[in-house]
């Protein structure tokens, strides 16, 4: 009996040990996670306390880090090597898990830590060749001794922090998901930039466009998906003359047609479509101070830990402040004592898909001959399961991303993407951080290849400029709009647009430059750049406001970033209301109409009108462009508005028998919209506030308790304050140049990646309220002003 009792107890103890020591399914390793000695309770605010001194092996001289009240580090180093070492160390101290997880995601290595559920995601990343692209980028860095030294200093700084970690002070998510950080490498820094390139350039519509062309033919495509949208206002003002006439390749006489796409394409990355970004600069002639003011609010998928890490970097030859990407040295968008710059996505097409014919020896047909492919073995390790090897074929275009049958019954598809080429964006940022004038800016951005950006610029000498930068392929008109013939050399890119031909404008007469992801140029620009740009609304609204403003102050520009007037609504609402049969409306429908009649087309969180209008158009568009025919790709808002206003009798919206008309569809959609709003929010229109749309700032690993969900934001995708359910202004910055540079910034989140820190999401409230913080931009160490809460001395380790 006694031995039975003992055996039971021993088995129970073993069972308890097994249950508490090991990870089970999605649960963390319970014993250590809940242990106050090593678990989550160790990730409290204690980590926010600033050490006075740190001894770090790898530093050459002492580095001072001044911390301000937002936990922003101002790093003062005595040489470049120490500057980037300290940037790496300090960034990792606040964001290590984010850097690690983000680059694992880019490289297709999430299954390694999260299990087989992420296998398809990882496979997709591998096929896209993010790791391959990062390898090419590393080659470019290593080829230049200075770039190599700077990137390796950053790497060493990150690793100095990793070495200092013990199980007890690992960042929270490592404990939660039960894995350990691995050494930082130059390749992982490259992966951060490749992942950004993916989010900004990999939203190609070629499959759906090809399918649409099959259905409607080329003439209709020009009407339904025009290159130049309704009321377009390019970045470089219309009518600008270009003083070059390049020889361009001819479009092949033979059309590449195939009728194999047979079903709806769902696999393309529609999810990556964001809501767009803005930047502009106004000349001193239009400002109160007489110095230029620059604004930048890039809109990305919002996340926690925050996308950006704010920093000041000071060393001989550089004193720069702004937003950095955790994992990459240098400031990406910011200012120094002489210049300011900011970025929006350029949107020109740098990714083409090629249909290729493969034989059983994995050769592909090109120019009448069979060419060899190269193979790259992608080893996908999976937690708790066997490693999967995916063989990816590489053609001279790039990787074969889809194999026969993977997508839309098309054959094998290879990809040509500038993200796979060697490039030197790090050099562009290095030089921009140190720029003193327009010439320095011009010299810096020629190194900026991908993702092509509209880089706005202003300097202390009252120059303003904007350049549609990036390495852009030379193509014949509309090349790459549809799937390309991989066997025909005429579909290869015809080289690169010379950098001096990239669209740009310097000190225009109108006194301002701006961009909002719209098409950069009008028809007169000789090169074909692509046809997938943002509609006219944000760009036109920015120009409209800047045109009307004078004696502009920094606060005026901050306020402008919050403008939520929608020009689509301004174009459309009175036309739609005009078609409504008022006598047939119910009481609540009539009340909603009266609200829309008095609406100023602003998407304010506290108004019901934007909710009514938005719901109405979301019901109307699928009715106008009937779901069956247009399910693959529906024409955009611009084309729809153009037709409603200028061709209301169009056969797209009106049936031949007269049973379905534009008017009937507008009335039907209105009834449906009001009904669905009543179903969702009840009969009181006061409860239909736009804030109910809610914006989610989700944690990188999609852990709800670490996210901020349903935030009551204003704005929509087509307003300057561009917001959607998951996208929004990831960084708001305004800078006024002059003898004493002034700047204000804010972003949704906080400096720390630790969910237990007071700095994890401390800026969210001000971001939501549309407010910004005055930046503490220090000229030197002796320039310490108010708002500084601590100083950390980083010393080289004693030898």
């Amino acid at each position: 009996m006694k031995s039975v009792r003992l055996i039971v107890l021993l088995v129970l103890c073993c069972g308890l040990f097994y249950g508490l020591e090991f990870k089970h399914g999605q649960l963390p390793q319970i014993g250590n996670f809940f242990s106050p000695f090593s678990g989550f309770l160790q990730n409290g605010r204690a980590g926010d306390e600033l050490p006075e001194t740190l001894n770090l092996d790898g530093l050459q001289e002492t580095v001072m880090v001044v911390w301000d009240d937002r936990h922003i580090p101002h790093i003062f180093a005595q040489n470049n090597s120490d500057l980037y070492f300290a940037q790496g160390y300090i960034t990792a101290r606040d964001r290590l898990w984010q850097m690690d997880f983000f680059t694992r995601g880019a490289a297709g290595r999430l299954s390694e830590v999260l299990g087989s559920g992420l296998l398809e995601y990882d496979r997709r990343q591998r096929r896209l060749g993010l790791g391959y692209g990062a390898e090419q980028y590393v080659n470019a860095i290593l080829a230049d001794p200075d770039s190599k030294a700077r990137t390796e200093s950053y790497r060493d700084g990150v690793n100095a922090f990793i070495i200092s970690l013990s199980a007890k002070n690992l960042p929270f998510e490592y404990k939660m998901l039960d894995f350990k950080p691995e050494q930082w490498t130059v390749h992982r820094s490259a992966l951060v930039l490749k992942a950004m390139t993916q989010s900004m350039t990999a939203y190609n519509r070629e499959f759906r466009m090809t399918f649409a062309k099959q259905l409607y033919g080329e003439d209709e495509m020009a009407k339904l998906f025009p290159q130049f949208n309704y009321k377009f206002e390019p970045i470089i003002p219309k009518g600008t003359k270009w003083n070059f006439k390049p020889e361009l390749p001819e479009k092949p006489a033979k059309n590449f047609n195939f009728m194999e796409i047979t079903r709806q394409i769902e696999d393309e990355d529609k999810s990556l479509l964001g809501v767009g970004s803005n930047n502009w600069a106004v000349s001193g002639e239009k400002t109160e101070s007489g110095y230029p003011i620059l604004s930048n609010d890039p809109h990305l998928q919002l996340g926690l830990p925050s996308t950006w890490y704010e920093i000041q970097l000071h060393a001989p030859g550089v004193n720069v402040y702004g937003a950095t990407l955790p994992g990459v040295q240098h400031v990406i968008t910011g200012f120094n004592e002489n210049v300011a710059w900011g970025v929006t996505n350029g949107g020109s097409d740098v990714l083409d898909y090629y249909l290729i014919e493969l034989n059983e020896d994995y050769q592909y047909k090109y120019n009448g001959e069979w060419r060899e492919t190269k193979t790259r073995l992608e080893e996908i390790k999976i937690r708790g399961a066997e490693t999967v090897i995916d063989t990816v074929l590489y053609t001279h275009y790039g990787p074969v991303v889809y194999r026969k049958g993977d997508i839309a019954n098309v054959g094998d598809v290879a990809m040509r993407w500038t993200a796979h080429d060697e490039s030197e964006e790090h050099r562009a940022f290095y030089l921009l951080n140190r720029a003193k004038n327009y010439q320095d800016y011009e010299a810096a951005i020629k190194y900026f290849d991908t993702p092509g950006q509209n880089i706005v610029f202003a300097d202390n000498m009252n120059n303003i400029a904007i350049t549609h930068s990036g390495k852009l392929p030379i193509r014949w008109k509309e090349q790459g709009r549809y799937l390309s013939d991989g066997s025909d050399p005429a579909y290869d890119w015809g080289g690169w647009i010379p950098r001096e031909h990239n669209p740009k404008i310097v000190n225009p007469m109108r006194g301002y430059v701006s961009s909002a992801n719209q098409i950069p140029v009008d028809e007169k620009y000789p090169y074909y750049l692509g046809s997938s740009y943002a509609g006219f609304t944000r760009g036109a609204r920015i120009n409209q406001l800047l045109e009307s403003m004078d004696n502009i102050t920094l606060d005026d520009i901050s306020k402008m970033q919050l403008d939520d007037v929608d020009l689509y609504a301004r174009e459309l609402v009175s036309d739609l209301l005009g078609y409504l049969e008022v006598e047939s409306l119910s009481e609540i429908e009539a009340k909603a109409v009266s609200l829309l009649n008095g609406w100023e087309q602003n998407y304010s969180a506290e108004l019901s009108e934007p909710m009514i209008f938005s719901r109405w158009t979301s019901k109307l568009l699928p009715m106008l462009w009937d779901e069956e025919t247009f399910r693959t790709l529906r024409p955009g808002f611009s084309v729809t508005i153009d037709l409603i206003k200028n061709d209301p009798e169009t056969s797209y919206f009106n049936s031949k028998d007269g049973e379905i008309t534009l008017a009937s569809l507008i009335n039907d959609s209105y009834h449906e919209a009001v009904k669905s709003l009543r179903d969702d929010y009840g009969d009181d229109i006061e409860g239909w506030k736009w804030k109910n749309r809610g914006t989610d700032v989700r944690h990188l690993a999609r852990i709800p308790a670490l996210s901020r969900m349903n935030l009551p934001t204003s704005g929509t995708a087509s307003t300057i304050n561009a917001q959607s359910k998951s996208f929004g202004p990831s960084w708001r910055m305004v800078v006024e140049l002059g003898p004493n540079v002034k700047a204000k910034t804010v972003y949704p989140g906080g400096q720390s990646g630790n969910p237990g820190s007071q700095y994890y999401d401390n800026m969210m409230a001000k971001w939501l309220a549309g407010e910004q913080y005055n930046v503490h931009f220090l000229r030197s160490l002796s320039d310490i002003k108010t708002g500084i809460v601590g100083v950390t001395e980083l010393k080289g380790a004693q030898k």
Binding site: L12, F34, P36, G44, A46, S757
Partner: protein, 121 residues
Amino acid sequence: MRNSMICIVSGLLLQLVYPVWWWLMLVPFVVCFFMEKSAFSSFKIGVLSGFMLWFGESAILAFTGAEIIMERVSNMIGFPNDWLMLIVASLLMSVVSGISAVTGFYLKEAINGNKSIRVEA
């Protein structure tokens, strides 16, 4: 009481040197194996020392900056109150500690019992 204190002090020291949760099982197991005289008092020692150590350290951290992370974790696992979460976790772990202590005691008893039979033979 004395053995409880031994468990708490040695458990604390070991956690400081090498912080893993299973000292909570191992320490009372060993102490009760060598030093305890009854199953019931072994269980008491395990539970008491386990709770004191686990909850004590949790409370110190909770009062010195862990309140934000406590709240997030209790939200994550659906606990209505963060302090309740700490108390429940500490109670459960102290029971684990108690079971381990009793097992230690019975193991010693089994070994000693076998020895005494051999001596009698």
